[in-house]
């Protein structure tokens, strides 16, 4: 397993004199920037910050669950901890993770544009995100919120005296940040493609983000209005969601999940987008069934809007309606299967190397398949009766979100690190980190499936002693997992200074972003490129007679 593909003259590579990183100096030049690459970097930092907070909260959860009684913290503290964990991880980490960082950085590069369509809105979106983040942090400092990330009414509206409104407003702002990101992507992809860049020449990364953006702009506003209603109901003592005043708590569930189910696809489609790029590059092959993979992204986005009620199967919805939604859920699972099989087939007759991003991608395929197929358990009506609200669900969504999206995010960060910074990450240690993450993940979350079938309810600070053994495994795994995540947080910053210089195209990849210098210029391309080949055209790359790389200075 030698490391990198034939690196083009790595020894003589040097950092370009001029790049987006050194174009301007000073904090102000970052905080007021319109450059999508700099905004991506701002996002990268802030997201990592919130991930660490969410991770520490996860650590607290696992420590508490080491022993059956609620001994480390009181139950209401525990409730606040997992609520903040869920809120931070979902709204402040996973939803913006790939799109707002890697996507922000790459979409203009991939479609051959100088920037996103609306740079100022892009910056505004970061400020909204930070505003939302600060409100959530404020909630935490003021004493937390204990609604769970799902804000179930009438609990959240009439029965808690924690800072529900502050948290809801934080999410409201973060939601608008995500709307603006989606808006920018859609307009950019429609309107800013360079000459020759037809829809079917777009990298699959762009297709994935296009699908994500559809969900962001159509789903998020419903969450926003729902949170406004929750806040109004709380402050004004109205009863839209309160049955004793004639309201209907299920209406809240409908509106909330109308966003939050599609949102889980916001949390996986960008990851899938990354995987397409990584698998293709390291097997040096065009993605098998390009069109099928492209359309399956859009199919997931569209069908994703039709299945929300599967979160409410036992909550008193009509049984006939549950039937409809179960059926639709089965349909939405199919495009994911299509993707998995196409990626596997991409390896067939490839020329495969095993760099760190590829290892993460393999991790993604395995873990997402498990996570996705256990989603089928939950979509199966009769099975959901037993499994819902148990640790089976906790395991399901950590498999898809952590084993899926987080792995993909790490794959993406490693894959484009040379492009973003101009330097390589250290290869050996990053491979170790990937393996540690994988092992830690399995040990943490696999036992939770068994716990779930045993019936251990989620959101329990204390649990009967029968469940202890598996919980100890889970906590042990989480410690390994923590190390796995800590490592990149250490060696990636290290590599900023000491990493090998990467050169323009260290992976010999075909995307437009790899045909320019790394790190790129502020204006991306000195001359707008003309796309004259299909995506993932490795023959084109091989036949390129001279290096058409644009380095300035």
């Amino acid at each position: 397993m030698s490391t990198i593909v034939s690196l083009p003259d790595q020894s003589t590579a040097k950092l370009p004199a001029k790049s987006y990183l050194n174009q301007e100096y000073g904090l102000k030049s970052w905080l007021l920037t319109g450059d999508h690459k700099r905004i991506a970097m701002l996002y990268l930092f802030s997201i990592t910050f919130f991930f660490v907070i969410g991770g520490v909260l996860a650590g607290l959860i696992r420590l508490e669950l080491l022993t059956p009684p609620a001994d480390l913290m009181a139950t209401d503290t525990y409730n606040k901890v997992f609520s903040m964990h869920g809120i931070i991880m979902i709204f402040l980490f996973l939803v913006p993770s790939v799109p707002a960082t890697i996507g922000n950085f790459l979409i203009p590069l991939m479609v051959g544009a100088r920037d996103l369509a609306f740079p100022k809105i892009n910056l505004l979106s970061w400020y909204l995100y930070m505003g939302g983040g600060l409100l959530v942090l404020a909630t935490m400092v003021l004493g937390g919120v204990d609604t769970g990330w799902t804000f179930t009414t009438p609990l959240s509206t009439h029965y808690l005296n924690t800072h529900v409104v502050t948290a809801a407003m934080g999410i409201f702002l973060a939601g608008f940040s995500s709307i603006f990101t989606g808006l920018n992507f859609i307009v950019t992809i429609h309107r800013m493609r360079c000459p020759g860049m037809t829809w079917f020449r777009l990298p699959l990364f762009v297709w994935g983000h296009y699908a994500t953006s559809i969900i962001m702009i159509l789903g998020t506003p419903v969450l926003a209005i729902t949170l406004v209603l929750v806040a109004l109901e709380r402050t004004m003592n109205i009863g839209v969601f309160d049955p004793s005043k004639g309201g209907d708590p299920l209406l809240f569930q409908h509106l909330f999940w109308f966003y939050s189910h599609p949102a889980v696809y916001i949390m996986i489609l960008p990851g899938m987008a990354v995987i397409s790029e990584v698998i293709s590059t390291f097997s040096r092959k065009r993605v098998f069934g390009y069109t099928a993979v492209a359309f399956s992204s859009v199919a997931i986005a569209v069908f994703g809007f039709l299945v929300w009620e599967h979160h409410m199967f036992i909550m008193g919805v009509s049984q006939y309606s549950a039937l409809v939604f179960s059926l639709l859920t089965m349909l939405v699972a199919v495009p994911s299967a299509i993707k998995i099989f196409n990626w596997s087939m991409t390896l067939y007759k490839g020329s495969i190397t095993f760099e760190t991003p590829m290892l993460y991608a393999f991790g993604f395929i395995g873990l997402f398949t498990i996570g996705g197929l256990t989603g089928i358990f939950l979509a199966t009506l009769g099975m959901d009766v037993h499994l819902t609200e148990t640790y089976f669900i906790v395991a399901h969504f950590h498999f898809v979100m952590v084993g899926g999206m987080l792995m993909a995010y790490l794959a993406g960060v490693h894959f484009w690190w040379p492009k973003m910074t101009g330097r390589m990450y250290p290869e050996a240690i990053s491979k170790t980190a990937a393996v540690i993450t994988f092992i830690g993940f399995i040990v943490t979350f696999f036992p939770q499936f068994i716990l779930g079938y045993l019936g251990m309810p989620r959101r329990y600070a204390a649990y009967p002693a029968d469940f202890q053994v598996l919980n100890v495994f889970s906590t042990a795994g989480a410690s390994i997992l923590g190390i796995g995540y800590l490592l990149p947080m250490l060696y990636l910053p290290w590599s900023l200074k000491y990493g090998e210089i990467a050169g323009d195209n260290p992976w010999q990849a075909t995307g437009l972003e790899w045909q320019i210098q790394s790190p790129p210029l502020t204006e991306n391309f000195s001359e707008i490129p003309i796309m004259d080949h299909e995506a993932y055209d490795y023959e084109w790359l091989a036949n390129k007679t001279h290096h058409e790389v644009q380095t300035v200075g």
């Binding site: 799902t150 099989f341 087939m345 398949t369 089928i376």
Partner: protein, 355 residues
């Protein structure tokens, strides 16, 4: 190992005693659920094995050292169709299978024995027909179909008995039902699985499954003296319902005898079945369904009668129905006949129990 380190030994023994990987099967639903579960596990293992085999075999076979030059392949419509249709077919099988089980769990047979459960922060209050009250405990006989009618006094709760593989949300403002038939005597976990505030994790209890004989004994020993219907009758008089519903021809309200489970014609021309939900709503929001021929003069009792009181009233009105009374009698005899059939193989009450 006990002579190496007694502490470690203790620890291990303790662990192994507390190690479970599969929940007890204690209801007629459980085998159905488990069959479905294993089928789903089978699908997952197969699917995962398939994908992992592809990934592993290709990674080894086509790694760069062995296969330096990639062969570009566009795709294959046939393959796409295969892996679209086969998973779809499999998923649809599970859809049908799951739906069948779902309807079984949530549609109790008509002859089941009805137990009311009220959820409130943070306890379960169980009310048996005979007036036995329990908190965070549920005693039931084996071999009798049981319908639990749930309601919550405040927020969402969820009534979960893993050993029976059933669960149902108790929601405020509306009755929900779940059905099961216990098979194995023993003591099983009862959880609240819907997050309901601070002491959510303390809203737990036990389900005691007993042989019909034991159950009859328990029933006799724990009655509060008045059945739900009798309590209801008292309440009916004390809050003044009988001022209007006294069954006489001049009464201002309709005669409530024999209304239960009949189809009622409403003033707006539609009809409604007077089931438990209807009766409850008739008391709390009388103007929602006004029976034809009556003026809307009944006051609302929203906020004046507790959920327990409402249950009593509903049971009282049901008991005014002769069919229902006959049904109740049959249920009783059912318990004793179930007793007869299991007599020979009575299992000690703690048989399958986990402490």
């Amino acid at each position: 190992m006990s002579h190496i380190s007694p502490v470690l030994w203790e620890f291990l023994v303790h662990w192994l005693k507390n190690f479970a990987i599969f929940p007890p099967e204690a209801s007629t639903i459980a085998p159905y659920a488990d069959a479905l579960y294993f089928a789903l596990v089978g699908m997952t293992v197969t699917g995962l094995a398939l994908v992992m085999t592809m990934v592993l075999v290709f990674s080894i076979r086509y790694r760069k050292e062995r296969h330096p030059e990639a062969v570009q392949i566009e795709g294959s419509t046939l393959l796409e169709a295969t892996w679209t249709l086969i998973p779809l077919g499999i998923f649809l099988v599970f859809f049908v299978w799951g739906a069948l089980l779902y309807f079984r769990v949530f549609n109790p047979p008509p002859n089941s024995m009805n137990i009311y459960v009220v959820g409130k922060q943070w306890m379960w209050k169980v009310e048996h027909q005979g007036g036995q009250h329990e908190i965070n405990a549920l005693h039931i006989p084996t071999g009798v179909p049981i319908q639990v009618t749930l309601i919550s006094q405040d927020v969402f709760h969820s009534f979960s008995i893993p050993a029976f593989r059933v669960k149902r949300e108790a929601i405020p403002g509306r009755y929900t039902t779940v059905y099961f038939e216990a098979t194995t005597p023993g003591k099983y976990h009862l959880f609240c699985t819907q997050y309901c505030g601070t002491n959510h994790s303390a809203m737990i209890g036990w389900v005691y499954v007993m042989t019909p004989a034991d159950y009859s004994a328990w029933e006799a020993g724990n009655t509060s003296g008045a059945s739900l219907a009798q309590n209801g009758e008292r309440l009916f008089a004390s809050v003044g319902c009988n001022a209007c519903h006294n069954g006489s021809a001049t009464a201002r309200g309709p005669n409530l005898a024999n209304v239960y489970n009949t189809r009622i014609r409403l003033t707006d021309g539609s009809t409604a079945i007077a089931n438990e939900a209807y009766l409850r709503e008739a008391i709390l929001a009388p103007s929602m369904h006004v029976p034809a021929g009556y003026a809307q003069i009944m006051p609302t009792y929203q906020g004046q009668i507790s959920e327990d009181g409402l249950i009593d009233l509903v049971e009282y009105i049901k008991s005014l129905d002769s069919n229902y009374r006959i049904q109740q009698m049959l249920n009783k005899s059912q318990i004793s006949s179930a007793q007869a059939s299991t007599e020979g193989k009575t299992v000690p009450a703690q048989g399958a129990a986990k402490p």
